[in-house]
């Protein structure tokens, strides 16, 4: 049975509800990595026994991960993370299809895809950003309208990191192929949480990483179908099927393989529990007044993800108060972002600044418990009450849009 009793080492009194940001290592993952930091320190490109041992280790990881996503080992390359994979996929696809100059992405992509698109735009490419509805869904019709014979790639994230919206990748990929365009999807958040198979979904390029599913940071993967190989971006020795040079991060890759193996193996058993905890959290938070759920209903969205706006108070302040109580979450407010602008995802689903400023993302994993959920609900109630008692944001004076809306908005 999937061992629910196994737990990663934990800082005392910390409740970690920020798993969409990064996750603790599964203990089994750490264990398989250690030898490759110690005696098995070989470089996979070396021809002696130590090198062969390392090469065999990454080959095993490659087999497992490829199998888990329905790919052949030769179609999977290792990178330093999903950001690099996204860069390689989008830039690489552009360079591989020089005659086409139109890129389509969704408005709720990860920063790496958004910024690669911006860069290509600067180089004279045409970029279409597909809008999303109030829950974050991309409409296949909008893609049909936007796509043309000049489109080389469509990139739509499988499950969004902020609001957990899961796109209909299968349909979107079909539309892409009708016009001879490639289809890329970032599954970093989705892998190991919802079923994924490259053939079933019909995708050409897929990015993902280790640290969102209890694996190590600093390692990621890119699946590239045989007929849809990107051009490499870096130059060097011919590692990773000549697509990504550089000595491989052996310990991280080994850990990555184990993490994917565990996640996919345990997914069906673990997920109902994670979903029910998330719903418990949603129920508890919906009891706080002037609160809105951002994104789809908990049943439909990425298991474990919840994004809630607490009106009339600000996200960084909420986050810091919760952090003082040992609870880790993140926020979509402008003040808590690096660029000082509110989250593009929240803006894309139609939140006005005032609503985005009060947004908090809770993200649970298999290691969280019902006791923690209840603790977090209680703490959130206290923090919200405290900040509301001192707020200068008086709704009647400042906005008519606030209030009178229910927690679970309809689609």
């Amino acid at each position: 049975m999937a061992d629910r009793n196994v737990r990663p080492p934990r800082v005392k009194l910390m409740i970690y509800f920020d798993n969409n940001d990064t996750t603790p290592l599964h203990p089994d993952v750490l264990e398989v990595m250690l030898p490759y930091f110690k005696d098995k320190f070989g470089n996979p490109s070396s021809l002696h026994n130590l090198g062969l041992e390392a090469e065999s280790a990454i080959d095993d990881a490659r087999q497992i991960i490829a199998g888990a996503i329905g790919a052949k080992p030769a179609e999977l390359i290792f990178t330093a993370g999903a950001t690099e994979s996204n860069n390689l996929a989008v830039f690489g696809a552009a360079r591989a299809n020089p005659k086409r100059r139109h890129l389509i992405i969704s408005a709720v992509e990860h920063a790496s895809v958004l910024n690669v698109a911006k860069r290509l735009e600067g180089e004279g490419y045409r970029v279409t950003r597909l809008p999303v509805d109030g829950q974050g869904y991309v409409s296949p019709d909008s893609l049909r309208e936007a796509i043309d014979d000049d489109t080389f790639l469509i990139s739509v994230v499988h499950a969004n990191h902020e609001i957990g919206v899961i796109q209909d990748i299968r349909t979107l990929a079909e539309i892409a192929h009708e016009k001879g365009a490639w289809f890329h999807t970032d599954v970093a958040q989705a892998l190991g949480k919802i079923p994924f198979d490259v053939d079933v979904l019909g995708v050409d390029l897929v990015s993902f990483n280790g640290h969102k599913l209890h694996g190590p940071k600093g390692v990621g993967g890119l699946y590239a179908g045989r007929k849809t190989r990107p051009r490499r971006l870096m130059e060097g020795a011919p590692q990773e099927f000549d697509l990504r040079p550089g000595t491989e991060n052996v310990p991280a890759i080994v850990g990555f393989g184990k993490a994917v193996e565990i996640a996919v193996r345990d997914r069906e058993e673990i997920t109902p529990g994670v979903r029910s905890l998330t719903e418990r959290l949603a129920e508890g938070l919906s009891g706080i007044e002037h609160t809105l759920l951002n994104g789809p209903h908990p049943d439909e969205r990425l298991p474990g993800n919840l994004n809630v706006t607490f009106l009339y108070i600000e996200g960084e302040a909420i986050l810091m108060h919760l952090s003082n109580r040992g609870i880790c979450v993140s926020s979509g407010s402008a003040c808590s972002s690096k660029s000082l602008t509110p989250s593009t995802v929240l803006t894309a689903i139609g939140l006005i600044h005032e609503e985005a400023h009060g947004a908090i993302r809770y993200s649970l994993s298999r290691f969280n418990t019902a006791g923690e959920v209840d603790e977090v609900i209680k703490a959130t109630c206290q923090v919200v009450e405290l900040l509301r008692s001192m707020t200068a944001f008086v709704p009647e004076l400042h906005s008519e849009r606030m209030g009178g809306r229910s927690f679970y908005r309809k689609r």
């Binding site: 049975m1 199998g67 888990a68 080992p73 079923p195 198979d197 053939d199 079933v200 193996r265 058993e269």
Partner: protein, 125 residues
């Protein structure tokens, strides 16, 4: 692409995932060769020569997960004779057809069932 709605359903919502404690029949099978690392563990509860419960745990590709899910649906609630006569074609039909390269998946599921029933036979005799 050639995936039937039933196949997609069994992959995205597989039935019978899990493990039966103190099973009456159990097997662990691995796919040999072809660069596919599928591994399946099947456990059964049998009462009065009927398979009352079937569960599987798999580290496997979509085809094998779908095949095992179909297997659970086919055998649960049926007697041993019916289970023994189950074929790959039966599973393929239940899945509304499968792509050729996933043929190994239904064969692996049938193999898991056969091996499990074998262990039970040996225990009784």
């Amino acid at each position: 692409m050639g995936f039937s709605p039933e196949y997609i359903d069994h992959f995205t919502n597989p039935r019978g995932v899990g493990e039966i404690e103190s099973p009456d029949a159990v097997s662990e099978v691995k796919h040999k060769g072809g660069g596919c690392f599928d591994k399946v563990r099947l456990t059964l509860r049998i009462d009065d020569d009927k398979i009352t419960s079937a569960r599987f745990r798999a580290r496997a590709c979509s085809g094998t997960i779908a095949a095992c899910s179909a297997l659970v649906e086919k055998v649960e609630g049926h007697d041993l004779d019916m289970a023994k006569s189950l074929t790959s074609e039966d599973l393929v039909r239940h899945l509304g057809g499968i792509p050729e390269k996933k043929q190994h998946s239904v064969e692996l599921a049938i193999e898991a069932l056969a091996k499990a029933l074998e262990t039970r036979q040996r225990r009784i005799s």
